[in-house]
Subunit: 468 residues, 2 copies
């Protein structure tokens, strides 16, 4: 089977343009289902959302079913390769669950009564899940529908994997992937759950930071002490913990764990040039959150610090008396939670060991430390030379008339790690969200313009994936 002609693609795009109201109508059906995965009261709603998605895929000719897990079901649907197909087998990942809606009184309309409202960029959809991830997942489904309605069939080899527990940390996804490895074997994963650079500039996210998360408790005396009777002789664990953790960064913002930067992979000059060319305004970025000066490692641009340099942030710290008024206590212990955002090359287990060495070198005599290590995930870098990234770049350039930014993300998307670890495949992260979409917050929205471009971009991408 040859690759679809440009006339065919144009016809499918025209069909999608003409069907935009219908596409939005289907999305609104899904948005009306309050599938909050975190809340047991909404268990049945999650089931309903899964069934709704399953039906959509079945309508498009997929062999679709709900697969049980210990939590909410996973929708798995297969669309066989067309005859003579020579393109990749694509695993499309999305999630049908959404975040809780509190605080409800900050919403301007009920979170599960989707609204079409006017905004500075035209129409927008307002509802919980509008962009994360129902709106973004439906772009791909609608792209397939346009192909089917306009040409009678979908030109690609697609497996869809739509889970219902992303917003609660996907506790059952890795076991599910492992148990169904053969069935889910594919060439790449396609994920629409990330953002654009801005509403006119498309983006592919090619870097994600990983993490080593540590909780520690520094212990001194076997009980709380009176600071008058013991102060000057007894070790104060809060002073000691502040002393240790206050040394995490040096005066230049360099993290002082021994060997911490040894394996950090520097970004290419081409990458750096592209990011520099974006003209990212760190002053404005920080100004929005009330900060007047940047922090972090000297000698790197803001985007490099956010996307390609590791961090060491104390996420919580506590010890001693924290109530009203004064209490002259020397506490028995003090604790902290510290997360290291990691970049490709760094080994999360090694970083934990480096941290323990860092602490041991600074720990005063008489103190002991207990550690607990939580999340450990490596930073991820997608091969930007892969044919799939090149295909997505071409598609986005056609759609927007300008090249896509190869963005980094300061955070991590655990499923990307799971897909690589368990199924051995890379993810292509082509997303259409904007920074101001209020993800996880009241009045979550999705620009209709982004939704529309997203459907069109996926239509083009399906043509590329048709092979030929």
């Amino acid at each position: 089977m040859p690759a679809p002609s440009s006339d065919t693609v144009a016809a499918v795009l025209r069909h999608a343009d003409a069907s935009l109201d219908a596409s939005r109508g289907r999305l609104f059906e899904l948005l009306r289902i309050p599938s909050i995965s975190a809340q047991p009261d909404h268990r049945q709603d999650c089931q309903r959302a899964a069934e709704w998605v399953c039906t959509q895929l079945a309508d498009l000719g997929f062999t679709a079913e709900l697969r049980p897990t210990k939590g909410h079901p996973v929708v798995v649907a297969h669309h066989a390769a067309p005859t003579g197909h020579r393109g990749p087998h694509v695993l499309f990942y999305g999630h049908y669950d959404v975040q809780p809606v509190d605080p409800l009184d900050l919403w301007h309309s009920p979170p599960f009564d989707p609204q079409l409202v006017d905004g500075p960029h035209g129409k927008r959809f307002v509802a919980r899940g509008a962009v994360d991830d129902k709106g973004q997942a439906m772009m791909f489904v609608e792209a397939m529908r346009a192909w089917k309605e306009a040409t009678g069939g979908i030109p690609a080899h697609v497996t869809a994997l739509i889970e219902g527990e992303e917003e609660v940390g996907s506790p059952n996804l890795e076991p599910f992937l492992a148990a169904n490895k053969a069935e889910l074997a594919s060439d790449l994963a396609l994920i629409s759950d990330t953002g654009m650079w801005d509403i006119d500039t498309p983006a592919i996210t090619t870097r994600l930071r990983g993490m080593t998360y540590v909780q520690m408790t520094l212990k001194a005396a076997n009980r709380d002490l009176h600071s008058g009777l013991y102060g000057g002789s007894a070790l104060n664990p809060i002073n000691a913990l502040a002393h240790v953790l206050g040394d995490l960064q040096d005066a230049n913002g360099r993290i002082q764990l021994p060997g911490f930067y040894d394996k950090v992979k520097p970004i290419s000059n081409a990458h750096r040039r592209q990011w520099d060319a974006l003209g990212f305004d760190e002053g404005a970025f920080l100004g929005k959150i009330g900060l007047s000066a940047p922090s972090g490692e000297r000698g790197y641009s803001a985007l490099e610090r956010l996307w390609a340099r590791p961090t060491a942030d104390i996420n919580g710290m506590w010890g001693g008396y924290t109530g009203a008024g004064g209490k002259t206590v020397i506490a028995a212990e003090a604790s902290a939670k510290i997360s290291f955002r990691l970049v490709p090359g760094q080994d999360p287990d090694e970083v934990f060991e480096q941290f323990k060495r860092f602490v041991a070198e600074r720990l005063p005599a008489g103190a002991t430390v207990d550690y607990e290590c939580g999340t450990r995930s490596p930073g991820i870098e997608v091969n930007v030379e892969s044919p799939w990234v090149r295909a997505a770049q071409a598609v986005l350039t056609e759609e927007y008339g300008k090249p896509a930014v190869l963005m980094g993300s300061g955070g991590s998307i655990p499923v990307v790690t799971s897909l690589r670890t368990v199924l051995g495949i890379d993810s292509l992260l082509m997303g259409f969200g904007l920074d101001d979409d209020q993800v996880h917050s009241p009045n979550e929205k999705f620009e209709q313009r982004c939704f529309h471009h997203g459907i069109r971009s996926h239509i083009r991408l399906l043509a590329k994936f048709a092979g030929g």
Copy 2:
């Protein structure tokens, strides 16, 4: 009137020895009154305890009355100078209120049902208030009673001031002293609310540390941030607070506030020699609380660090996420409570200013700090050459056959500051408590041997104060 002869003193001491059971019986009456000043339910009990003390003093020939305050009443009682008296006018200070008794289940007997039990040093009294301060206050009352019963009169010029709010910070005492300044004018205050060096070694407390207590909040962004999206660019206030406060002491334990030590008055060589001669076992002191190594300023003995050197202890610190599991948040702010124990010479207001300078010098760009300053009291040093300290030294040497230790106290006794500030008088702190008396804890106790020696020592001191 001449000073009492040594035969007279010996007769009074014999009378006290013979009356020990009766003295203990009266103390037990007072111990049965649950005069917990912190608990509104015990308001009437505080009133009863005040009345009981008032009656005791009236029995001894004092003009005694309860004086109302905004809280619990103060007992004020005057015993005029005997004819021809040339000694000092002594203001005896004590308190009839006690600490709460929680946790009740750790008591071996009901806290307000005083028990006479056997211990390694003979009999001991177990009850809330046994030593703090009912037992110690009653030593002086019983000493006066012995004088009255054995000789028909008390040879000294005494005003008694027994308050009922010491355990809640004496909020009404300073206004009371100020309002009754003329009535309370006297030459020295005598306070029995401190300790001995050990059960065989008497002590006079001549140094108390003061305090500057500060609460601070370091603020960065105007809201909590996602550490993935902002980490590497946004200032983390917990990292910043740890960095600042982790620098409070240098590697030698020296406090790094600018000018902090400038006005610290060093102790005399004589003082240092006496303390060194005590052979204080810091290893044992710390071993009891599970510590294996001393902390604090290098180059000073343990007692000097505890009694004559200032400290900087973080008493509480908090910020960010402190619940179970991990949360990758960059908090908007972080807070701490810090107390500086001060020694004579240091100005508590200046120390607050020095701390603010110390913080400002280390504060990263973009951070702001709010301060709240609580307690500010200077360290106190009693003039050890005063006739009253010399008299107490002589008395304790007679009673114990060895000289009294001139001790410091790492803590502060606010009333000593108030008496100096408002009435302009020094305090003589002759106390008979022991380190293991479980003050403020379950099973508070007072050794009968200490009580007995305390009564006898006060009998001797009254003879000294008789003048002549």
